[in-house]
Symmetry: D2
Subunit: 352 residues, 4 copies
């Protein structure tokens, strides 16, 4: 960058925000955006608080180099988050326009999942320059090989399965481990493979309880204790109604553990063996990101700044192999990336 | 040891067994017993399988130096475990006597909790030489400062609380973390202190839901998300009936999460804030022992061998400060070591 | 697979071996090969011991399902390893032919780095069916996006950098962390990015000591302590002679730490600030593999079996995006995959 | 506390400072002092920056509840540290008196090692009320069973030894691991026991190289790879001059690794086997404290406040068994707590 363009660029003010659920790596993206924006381009970076609520209500927070010194390893997001959708607020988009004008903000970098990026796409269509950064621990966002947060979730789930193995063995019990994944079984598939699970169940393929029981019994016959990893969104064939964790049951009580507890009970009844459920829950989405996720989140942040610098809006940064590329936001949010059946089939040789 | 005593000692055969539930560090004790028995005294070590079932049914497994090379860091027990009580089996004690005679076993080292050590005590009264090694992740065994397995359980629970903090903050939720401890609140107290919990509830002191709600609301007012750590055996004042995790509810369904899920629901209803329960369950008792537990388990094993070498039976090794001492088994199993109220009171300054 | 092909397949015997240096994930590959070979195809799997020494000298070890039950999380290799090259042994290849014939082994799966796979390629040219599985913690093998072992090495290095940061800050010291990477800077680049290093130095780009000192001083001026991550193979511009860790210096003493200790001394002298080196060394290549590496190693093993089943020899399995593909061994071992300068440039915005 | 005493107590202002080297758990003490001081007694807490430099130069920083919300898990110290000794500064003690008077500070809590606590003792003799909190990762401070920071150091060293084991085995190498401990071998003893080391060397007992070589060779003969854990302060018998890590050698170069690298070379020469040194260095004193250290540090902080509240100055809080007690500072700093020979002898059964 020549001195002249640097001076010119200094006038630019870029906004950044984080939307949706917690995900390890959010702060790593923010840090990269600030470092590259400030050091690389001489921009000023304006943080908007609480997702889209920030630009709608003018909740800003200037963030400089000092503010991001210490955040690379921290879970959560220093900008806060929300599920606010400006398109569901009367005059929401106009207020964003006003806030950006008042703040002198030239463009936005929006870090979030399907909803946040859906808004980003519509805003771009409406003439506001936005670059998206994909975020979901579920890894179910199309157009990118992986999203940050996923590796951390798999790491945590795998560590738990490792611990449960010795206790399953010494108590001769079946252990059902319910992991996150309402619509996509990526966490179940990867943590199940990494943890050496004896059955893996995913939402993409309704499971036969009889078949699960068969695998479990075969495992017990070989004098081992079976570990069954089940995504929270997995469903039994024929559609037995299984409550999700966190929903109220017929008696008004909130259920902890949905399909996992249901399945543990089925296994116990049908095999006569002890069977227990463990629901990993929110432990999967908190805490320090893995090195993998920090690198991915950092590179996403750097490349989002590149896109802004080139005025290439309406795009999302994405991982393809080892490259960070850009894809149209319209394409990125078009459909859920579920586990292909051939990937699931790969794992079946470890069942039983 | 002089050459003469060494030669004499070589004739000795000592049995070792593990009873009760899984606990990180069992294999470290076995390894220490074998190393010290074989290398230090020239003994032969005979492993008995599956707790007291081994000496009753003559299930043996010779274990030499090679068998314990690789087990220091492994969870579970290479000898297997059970809850068999020879005093509940007709002729059980006589069969032990016969098996020991047939195997030429001179004395036993029994590693276990209250039940296993209770049998050890009675066998010593009945003329069979036994030395006990205390084991319980709950840390509720009298006469020793700590038992191995406890530090690992606290470590795992604390790590989970660390992870839950960022997700609680970013979702503005109350998170109730249910940890092990049916009768004693040691894991809750230590992991709650270490994890910076905003409320800690233990079985030793029935809790007021009103007070919990007050702390939770105060926390929300200060713009933080409350973490409540609750031992599975904690009960509300006035004795509201709270099911334990794993028990069947009125509708015949096994509950996952007892007091933890109940409390999360109460908090949500009374505060109007989102509230979620996480039940750590069996993850707390499996996996690789911490360095602390490996050192403690190793020292227990070494000192148990010393007691056998001196013919000092009917005792249990115990930690007092930094010393390993011996206490009478009768004393050791006399009463449950619960959390003293002053230790609990120490923690209250962190509530709210 | 129909019953008929299954019966036919049962006759097949496939050999597997591991060559070269230690790498987390080797056992995960072996386990996957056995599960898929035995359960999926009805083959018998023969382990050859100590790399190519096994097939040369007929050192075999039958491995069945039971042998791989417990190895997924273990570092090292149950088959042992060596750097034996049959092409450097007179009659080596003929002896392999004889051993394979005598053992009734139809094909080989060879897991290793450049050298091991180079032999695999030549053996295929000489008419012996071999499928390769790439292995190097350095990630410097062409034709695959990543190799297993790399993620674990980066994870360990990053964890160390995280720990060093607080101690650097509180002692106001520069800390130079020397990581593995003789010819390629992948571990330095990824762990440096993930650990928030203030300077990253790689073999691909000779560094200017003056520039490093400038970054370090800028960092101190901003009241932070600089962390410099340096690959063991990094060299200063102008070719100052820097010894590698493990080499003997002019006085006949083995050096611990090469460029890292040299650089720490330079920094101390030129800045007048305290500066220390830490050489992570072999801690980076041992221990339990990360979940990422277990999944990658497992998938490599499964796909290597597919290649054998299809008679597709002379190939190596490789990662491309999220797919496992096959590439010619000749292509795979053609050149070292070094860090492209644009990837290094990406990181520079974090320097200083 | 009655309302009246609470109102009275509110007038009190208490100072807190941290001195000496980095140690995991310092922030946990500060947090406990603030919580208990403010919430329990209604005091104001004044942080003094950079150890004794703070009260000498009047460098203060008021710390309230909000400042300690987030610091429990953080390494380092939010107050900074130094090695300033007011007794080595002309008029230093008078300046402390003036600063305390000007700030209205009634008493001090000083967290530190031998030096910091030595000053605390003399200040108390000179009429300034100080309560001490012991801190050293080396665990070599008399009068307390353990100091915080030690468990974290042992945990980190043990984790490294665990990782080195597989790589030692697969490369058939002797690995010498140099850990902290200039004058006391506690870290070497505990991490050596926990990591299953085959030789442990401590400063308290000069070692025979011949004996070490014997153990190493015996280990190789049994087809295992030896791990030797050596404290940085261990010395060979007869006083061969071994440089310490960080010192300059005869050629003016700073040595990385003292006795560890020297010993690895000796082993290689005398056994003809490959031998490598790994120097863990500063990784041992940084990062997130273990749960054990957080609990201990927290309890130390709470009890230091109790001592201040009771006007019991000139004391240090200390761990005895599971109790926190108070000991005279004069007693606490009287002598170094080294490893007793019988504790070292306990470990010898694992050598070779």
């Amino acid at each position: 960058m020549t001195h002249a363009t640097k001076r010119l660029a200094k006038q630019m003010r870029i906004g950044v925000l984080t939307g949706g659920g917690d995900c390890p790596g959010l702060n790593a993206v923010i840090r990269a955006v600030v470092r590259k924006g400030v050091e690389g381009h001489g921009w000023e970076i304006v943080g908007f608080r609480n997702g889209w609520q920030g630009p709608v209500e003018g909740l800003t927070k200037p963030i400089g180099l000092g503010d991001v010194e210490d955040i690379l390893t921290r879970g959560g997001t220093i900008l806060g988050s929300s599920r606010t959708n400006p398109y569901k607020i009367e005059g929401g988009v106009d207020r964003i326009r006003e806030v950006l004008a008042a703040e002198g903000v030239d463009a936005l970098i929006a870090i979030g999942g399907e909803d946040t990026l859906g808004v980003a796409k519509r805003l771009t269509d409406d003439g506001i320059g936005v670059v998206g950064v994909p975020k979901t621990i579920d890894n179910d966002l199309g157009a990118t090989d992986y999203t940050f947060g996923f590796d951390t979730a798999v790491h945590i789930a795998t560590e738990s399965i490792d611990r449960l193995r010795t206790t399953a063995e010494s108590h001769h019990r079946a252990l059902v481990v319910e992991v996150m994944g309402r619509h996509a079984g990526w966490i179940a598939l990867h943590s199940g493979l990494a943890g050496g699970a004896n059955v893996i169940l995913v939402p993409e393929r309704p499971f036969s309880v009889e078949k699960v029981v068969e695998w479990v019994e075969r495992r017990f016959e070989r004098q081992y204790a079976p570990i069954i990893v089940v995504a929270e969104g997995a469903v039994p064939e024929g559609g037995a109604e299984v409550l999700h964790s966190g929903e109220k049951d017929a008696f008004g009580h909130v259920r902890l553990g949905g399909v996992g507890t249901w399945l543990a009970e089925e296994i116990a009844e049908r095999t006569g063996q002890e069977s227990r459920a463990v629901v990993l829950g929110h432990t999967q989405r908190g805490g320090i990101p893995t090195a993998y996720d920090r690198v991915l989140a950092t590179r996403f942040g750097l490349h989002a700044v590149d896109a802004v610098a080139e005025g290439d809006f309406g795009v999302m940064v994405a991982l393809r192999g080892t490259d960070i590329v850009r894809v149209k936001l319209s394409e990125a949010t078009a459909e859920l990336k579920t586990v292909p059946l051939e990937r699931y089939a790969e794992a079946e040789v470890f069942f039983g």
